[in-house]
Subunit: 230 residues, 4 copies
């Protein structure tokens, strides 16, 4: 069942330690089959070197296990809320990559400060509001997803144009057009967090880039007028 | 004698350079056999690539060598005090990992600032008070252990819930349910020190996370209501 | 056609990930045949592990493809402007190396603060002025080159003595006497950005080194009186 | 001639890139035969992967080449002044390791801030005064050595107890009882520069450790009462 997607999700998970984004089991990748509304995700707390494609867990959009002997990632409910709200995405990644976490812990957006950022994220990468006591106490992981969705709704951010977020005092989630694309966006988010941290330390005046430059870089890679690549 | 424990302590020591926690011989791991009150520990000043399981030294809780041709780690007396005071722990690690040392040298706690921290440490990781002249002059390594224990006593911290400490102007000690678990906690402490350093530089207002979020993350991994992992 | 130059440009491109200067496809190296006014450059958006010498693209100084099945780097027009204005250079490199980008995003020069810098760059490494809306809208990549040239003209900087620049809110370009020499200068620029960042954090008074020391180090490696090396 | 010493100096040079202390050819190690007053040193500007023991150059204490086909390191005259003034040392290292350079560029000592430092350096690691115009203009490398010696003389620092220095706006020199011991001290200096940089950023109050703790750690590893190691 969903052998191709399982393989893709497995490979995307394995690329997290390769890119230096995770320590121990601190990360997970999922993918979705939009036709059947089934999500394939890493099992919970399993070491990366013990993973294989057939250990991936299949769940439906209510979180029920449809296939698999292992429990799915404890963050599964968060992934599901993202798939339900952001209709175009096909992969989700969560890590505790250190530079992104630093911004999450500081509770501040990563401002769109340069073209590296603009090539992938069409504006600031938002940090969510802190979760309330009731959000934490009941269905915490599901509420985490809803808090992300709320941040995008309230600030009218298009999740296809800003494919990532910082959960307050927690860490980054990213998404994309496939599991591997979502990982790609996680790598980018960590890189821009590092660059922008040091840029802010050097000078925190006018950290945000000009809108024209942001437009230029984002749009030369995305949309109808894109001309980057082959 | 204690062949299994020696092997575990040897492997835990060898994992320190693998995780990038030590340079040269700046670290040591021990384990305890609680039935016989015997501690197995790395020999002093021996390079990691010259270590083997049978070079591990066995000492009793008075610090007497029970087995082994080499002198035990110079920090042995510190490990012993931790085993004597913290009855549940079965492994102890000391390193000079650079981010943790930075907090130790600054003399400030690592505040519980995010969920990475909360997944393993149920509150701030304390820094001890500076050692007094008399503590330094007589039985320094034993006094180092006692200063750690005093920090936990005075602040009524449960060492099972905060499995690590920063010795002032020195560096981290961690412990755990086994030698490898204690190493795991050393890796986590170094990671959260790195993340929280940068978070504090970005914003030092409200660096401490909400208690509800701390509770949620710690308790979903520890205790009766835990649900993380398989 | 230009087989030797293609091989050199290919090898120079492959050295970018080796030196840790690029993530994904975020960099490109070109070389020029000054006799025939032909530029050899990396194709756009191709992964480094899929590159080969025969995939390099040959363009003329108007940007027309003279040979090659792939589209040239989207930054080709920038490279061309540099070759046209800086008559002695034979290689150009662009990366998003993180320390250099931090200065670019902060919009500040890398001051000549120590001898590592002085061994290769005879003065501050300039940041360009921000690009104007019209420069961004029309022929952006060509205008990027012209903005670099303007920075050197207005500040009367000799591009042979300062073989690199930071494009505002973007990142570094470097050049040199060959493609590999231009890569060498990219590595140096990233190193001095890292060193000088931390030096500025420790003390931002008198960050610029004395002119005599700058002269000594630059001139013992460059020009008629050089005596470094064999 | 001096085959054993050449081999040791060669191996010590090769350990510099292994420990991450050098980029390109930015470092050199020498050793001295105190009986014959001959110094063995790396040739100038030769890549590490082209080095071999028989390429090491032998010079006397006036800087004359006694054996070797290549020119010695451009820093040879600095090494010689250190050997002449510091009678007990048998190896000298120069690098541009980035954390140490940051302190050198800031022009500030590395304060003795923790036990990692105290285990090897019995007090602050001094930065020299800036070199004067006349020191730079004539016999620059020899004057660099004399400026180091002057710093130790004026502040009455024992070079056996503080086996390293930061040359102002330049970088670190270290020394030791052998070429490999001098490299060891370079690694330590870089580590403590990194730790102490971050400690100073977290809190710059009372950065210097207590004298008793400094005494304890230095003296448990050095001198008659040492008890660390086998």
């Amino acid at each position: 069942m969903l052998e191709t997607l399982k393989q893709k999700v497995y490979e995307a998970n394995m690329s997290l330690p390769k890119y230096g984004l995770v320590v121990f089991t601190w990360g997970n990748v999922s993918g979705i089959d939009r036709e059947n509304n089934l999500v394939v995700i890493k099992p919970s707390g399993v070491d990366y070197d013990e993973l294989s494609a057939d250990k991936m867990v299949v769940v439906d959009l209510d979180g029920n296990i449809v296939e698999g002997d292992l429990k799915p990632s404890s963050d599964t409910a968060t992934h599901i809320e993202l798939y339900k709200a952001f209709k175009d995405i096909k992969g989700v990644v969560h890590t505790h990559s250190p530079w992104a976490v630093s911004f999450a812990q500081a509770g501040i957006d990563i401002p769109a400060a340069g073209t590296t950022h603009a090539d992938y994220f069409y504006g600031d990468i938002p940090v969510t509001s802190p979760m309330t006591s009731s959000e934490i106490e009941t269905d915490y992981e599901k509420q985490t997803g809803l808090v992300i969705v709320k941040a995008f709704d309230e600030r009218t951010i298009d999740p296809n144009q800003i494919p990532g977020v910082l959960v307050n005092d927690h860490g980054p989630f990213t998404w994309g057009t496939s599991p591997s694309n979502a990982v790609h966006n996680s790598v980018v988010l960590e890189q821009v967090a590092q660059m922008t941290y040091h840029g802010l330390m050097l000078s925190n005046r006018n950290s945000r880039m000009d809108q024209e430059l942001l437009d230029k870089h984002y749009l030369r890679k995305h949309g109808k007028a894109a001309y980057y690549g082959q």
